[in-house]
């Protein structure tokens, strides 16, 4: 069976789960639930993107939210109606104040631009290993944030960029999440993905096996940057409003907590972590305002969601560094479970004649 068909087959279960979530939410039809589900799909796309790089290289990346921002601002600048842009960014450079494109070309340009920037930045980051690479990604995030907040003519600085046509809906989110899942799984199982994981396991041995480590890191970084760009486009074209703060530390820690909780080494782990934290965040958010539960008037606990995310990262790092799924895919866990059952059954059948003789 070829790589693509095998990946499609192995992805059927998680894809069905995502479709079921979307179907359930649409059948309820409440705008709040739809919004929560849409944000879940955006974050899921972002976490799959992060998994491509972190799962392959074993390096943490603090910089991926920047790609989300680059793609989001790109579509915002290209898609926003001219009349509004004259108001928002009248002095935009390169004549961008007078440019207005449709959704498809805007999205394509945003993805290509994000990919090109990811490639250029990746040329430096892919040559680094360990902590140096991680610090470099953090520096990249800060640099992009500084550009967003200080290049007022193009990005409006710290103020919100609003008026972006809200063209996407829950199905866009679902589609993007499924595409991101397939890309992440295809890359992970591809010969290059396997080589990259080998390098993260043992760098010296991987080099001795002819693995072009820097080239593969660059590939993973660029690919994950483009997929991250999809998440940014989803955000901009759903909310209609973006600001630099949407693509900074809060978003970085949110998607990182999601990935670490499930286990960064597997795509299934990314899905699990995103599900658990999305549900957990909704619960903690409902507690923040101080609700009355079973007659008990709870006090307001502002910042509980942030505390929850921080606690998740600390707990996972302390007690289960490989995450909930231990770096395994659903199908691997299922195969291991079947093997265990088979060996247990074999042992039972081997013991039976001995017991009869006794």
């Amino acid at each position: 069976m070829g790589l693509v068909s095998a990946t499609l087959l192995r992805s059927l279960a998680p894809i069905c789960l995502l479709i079921a979530i979307a179907g359930l939410v649409m059948s309820i039809g409440e705008p709040y639930q739809i919004r929560v589900a849409y944000i879940f799909f955006i974050n899921l796309t972002a976490v799959f993107a992060l998994q491509i790089y972190m799962g392959g290289t074993g390096h943490a990346s603090f910089g991926h939210a920047a790609f989300q921002g680059i793609a989001a601002y790109s579509v915002a600048i290209l898609m926003t109606p001219l009349a509004l842009k004259r108001l928002l960014i009248p002095d935009a450079p390169f004549g961008l104040a007078a440019v207005h494109l449709g959704a498809v070309p805007s999205i394509l340009i945003a993805l290509v631009l994000t990919g090109v920037i990811a490639y250029i930045v990746g040329l430096a980051i892919s040559r680094l290993g360990g902590v140096a690479a991680e610090i470099a990604t953090l520096a990249f995030l800060v640099i992009v944030h500084v550009i967003f907040t200080n290049w007022i003519e193009l990005f409006r600085g710290p103020r919100a960029f609003y008026g972006i046509p809200s063209i996407s809906n829950l199905y866009w989110g679902l589609g993007a999440a499924i595409i991101a899942l397939l890309i992440a799984k295809l890359f992970r199982d591809s010969p290059y993905g396997v080589q990259l994981r080998a390098a993260s396991d043992n760098l010296l041995a991987a080099r001795a096996m002819g693995v072009p480590v820097e080239r593969l890191r660059l590939l993973a970084w660029t690919l994950s940057g483009i997929v991250m760009g999809m998440a940014g486009i989803l955000l901009a074209t759903y909310l209609g409003t973006i600001a630099p703060s949407s693509f900074y530390f809060n978003q970085t820690f949110l998607i990182m907590a999601m990935l670490l909780l499930g286990g960064m080494r597997s795509v299934s782990g990314a899905l699990c972590g995103t599900l658990v934290i999305s549900i957990g965040s909704e619960l903690t958010r409902s507690l923040e305002s101080g609700p009355v539960i079973a007659g008990i008037d709870l006090p307001a606990m502002f910042g509980l969601t942030g505390f929850f995310l921080g606690a998740i990262i600390v707990l996972v790092m302390s007690f289960r560094r490989e995450g909930l799924l231990g770096g395994e895919e659903f199908e691997d866990l299922f195969r291991q479970w079947k093997l265990k059952r088979k060996s247990a059954a074999d042992e039972t059948s081997a013991d039976a004649p001995a017991k009869q003789e006794a």
């Binding site: 080998a198 991987a206 001795a208 096996m209 002819g210």
Partner: protein, 240 residues
Amino acid sequence: MVDGISKHFGGVYAVRDVSLTCAVGEIVGLIGPNGAGKTTLMNLISGALTPDEGSVSLGGVSLNQAGLSARAIAGIARTFQNIRVFGRLTARQNVEVAHTSYLRDRADKRRDHSIDEIMAMLGLTDDAQRKASTLPYGQQRRLEIARALALAPDILLLDEPAAGMNEQESLALIESVQSIRDEFGCGVIVIDHDLKFIMRVSERIYVMNMGELIASGTPAEVRQDPHVIEVYLGKKASVS
């Protein structure tokens, strides 16, 4: 071919002016007591270390500018003294890592052994889907060899392949090394400090001590060499 290679750390020479050759289809042994510089020499040949002096070439082509990865592609594959399998990957994926490099980057794909054939040859078929970290020690050693063979090397460097093995396993390994040479047509350089193992498996032997070559020749010649007896075995010892 290694020509006049030297490497020093600080003021101490780990390897000094060592030259050796290994022809395709030949099994060459490299012995010496602990600290003789055997593994440093292997690191210099494979490109894990850069020599201070001297050169390494393969088929007349200089590899001085090539790093570890480039030398692997050029045809020098190796195993490690301390096992370095990719523990999170399955045994088959371990071999696939090297096979991918071979298929992608090797200019002359003249040998055609599939991953499954290589694994079968090393007795790893039944363990193909097991995580490498869960394999027994002996199987991990075999997996390292299988992985190196997937590069279809011209020269295979085996760093203490018999370490931790009992007599019976060592004998089986000797057969494996000889059949690998016959099947793959590659030269094999075997490093070990187990003299019996090296004497049985090698056609030619180099002996190192304190970073320098002190003797070379057939096993019979080396066995009788007074330097080897004095420096490596002690004055009154002999090699059986």
